[in-house]
Amino acid sequence: MRTLTLNRLLWICGALLAVLFVVVVLALKVGAVPISMTDLAWNLVRVIVGRDTQLSSEYGLIIFGLRLPRIVLGIFVGAALSVSGAGFQALLRNPLADPYVLGVSSGGSFGAILALIFLPYMPLVTPLAAFVAATATVAMVFFLGRRQGQLDNTTLLLAGVITNSFFSAVIIFLMTTLKGGEDRGMLYWLMGDLSTPLAASVRWMFGLGLIIGIGAIYTTAADLNLITMGEREAMHLGVDVTRVKLVVYVSASLLTGLAVSVSGAIGFVGLLVPHAMRLLFGSDYRVLIPTSAIGGAIAVVVADTLARKVVAPTELPVGAVLAIFGAPFFLYLLRRRLA
């Protein structure tokens, strides 16, 4: 038996951070305008040693004005969505739970759009409205997903799918009839897209929300391990099940709300990444939460790089790329687990 130690946890996270670093460097290099590896390396070194005045303006604009903000956004959104997915899976006792599949993402998008239409000049209201709408959607799906007072796995997923189509339809309706303060396209909200960089005014709030959300879920990691093995048993092993579920519910909704308010409804990250991490490092939530955060960042940055590269000079929404690669990869993981 190999128990989890702090050392092992740090090694795993360190290794994943190294992968993330490589992915970020590659993402900076790849794009419609080709940039050679040596140019990139030299210029990164110049920035690191503080001699960024030597950068050419065109280069500086592409790397630091366009690609880097987008990558940072991808890291934030990926981490938020996959930790949120891992949280929902334990909370709803359903391995297929994911903010997108459950309709929470489109619920959050709906809230964000309402805020953008009616309060267009208050940037902080958008993520807040997305958070509130996401929280309400989880509650709604939860109650729709119950049969005879018991949470039923299939009913829950169906409730999520239906909620998702309903909110998607409402979003389409709102976008076609009231074009208020919202100039991002319909596809942005329905499929997810990283092309709109984070406004400087909300950056701090997003970062803070991300840390609070992931941190709060992480404090319950050991309890979540027991809850996934049975709530009744967890209670008899000293877990305050109600408190843990409340913490995870609010935090996972917060993370989803934040993510959709800046990138629309990106799907499959919350399903794919936690499962991939479970296959790699086991089901222990003490490992799963941090590895899902880093893994989610890697997945979204990779997917977005592909979205920019594959059909350059135009680009795909990142959610489409994730859906195309996500579903078959998930099936593959599922088959391998069963073998």
């Binding site: 128990t3 989890l4 209670m235 092993l237 000293g238 086991g282 222990d284 687990r337």
Partner: protein, 290 residues
């Protein structure tokens, strides 16, 4: 500090706490409960005041047919429900008033197995029994690992250590679940229908282990079951339940009266006395040998 030393020191500390209570560890005094389906309506099920007590090393069986109130009584003992009236005390503390962590250090509950959401190895499962003793992230100490290893050895599950929980048999699973309860190092071990999905060999094996564990680890064991013959064979005390009432408390020989059992189980039964004064129950028609 090794696991065994720790275990001994806990026992010593508890022993000096209350010498008088060493005779009675668990006391259920006039404990009752009522379930309501909704707010102010009449209760849908009531458990009438029930009284019994148990010492350490004693196996108590709560016996009765389905819907007789066995599980409710077990929940009251476990402290998961607060009695409507009366008291349930473990070494002088009311079980429902203990905080969840302390309760989990003193009372271990073995349920029929629950569905695991994600695959887990047997050792991971057993180590969960150390949860009530840990802090925030609960990285397991060497001591926790030793205690878990000992627990698995005690139930004969050492060879299952690295197996997946979904790949082992029902009887093996039951042993691993029992090992997790032992890893909690409780005073009181509660089991809810532990023999339900086991074949007869595994049932006897489990109950013999329970008797051995009660003797070696000084547990008080409470088993809920509807298996008449197993209860007769292994219990020191039987609490007979029927339609939410406790009909009789006593040794198997005292409780196993033909008229009483026939009334409770609604079946034609014969009772005779086996060796060691333990009663044996037969369905009438199937004649006892000899």
């Amino acid at each position: 500090m090794s696991g065994t030393e720790n275990y001994v020191s806990i026992e010593v500390a508890r022993g000096t706490e209350k010498q008088t209570a060493a005779t009675v560890r668990l006391s259920v005094e006039q404990a009752s409960y009522a379930y309501h389906s909704r707010g102010n309506t009449a209760p849908v099920f009531t458990l009438a005041a029930t009284t019994f007590s148990a010492r350490q090393r004693e196996i108590v069986t709560i016996l009765g047919p389905n819907a007789s109130g066995k599980s409710t009584l077990l929940k009251l003992i476990a402290g998961a429900l607060e009695p409507l009236s009366g008291r349930v005390e473990l070494e002088g503390f009311e079980t429902s008033r203990l905080d969840a962590r302390t309760r989990a250090q003193r009372i271990a509950m073995v349920h029929q197995e629950s569905q695991l959401l994600f695959p887990a190895r047997a050792w991971e499962y057993v180590l969960q029994g150390r949860h009530p003793y840990g802090r925030m992230l609960r990285f397991e100490t060497e001591e926790d690992v030793n205690i878990a290893e000992n627990a698995m050895a005690q139930v004969g599950a050492k060879h299952l250590r690295d197996r997946w929980m979904h790949e082992i048999s029902g009887g093996e699973k039951q042993r691993v679940i029992l090992a997790r309860a032992l890893a909690q190092q409780p005073l009181l071990l509660l089991l809810d229908e532990p023999t339900l999905h086991l074949d007869i060999g595994a049932q006897v094996d489990l109950l013999e282990r329970l008797r051995q564990l009660a003797a070696e680890n000084r547990y008080t064991v409470v088993v809920v079951t509807h298996e008449l013959s197993l209860a007769a064979e292994f219990a020191d005390q039987v609490v007979l339940m029927h339609k939410g009432k406790c009909l009789r408390v006593g040794t198997p020989a005292e409780v196993y009266r033909r008229d009483l059992l026939e009334q409770v189980f609604e079946a034609p039964l014969d009772v005779d006395l086996g060796p060691e004064g333990r009663p044996r129950v037969h369905i009438r028609g199937a004649k006892p040998p000899g």
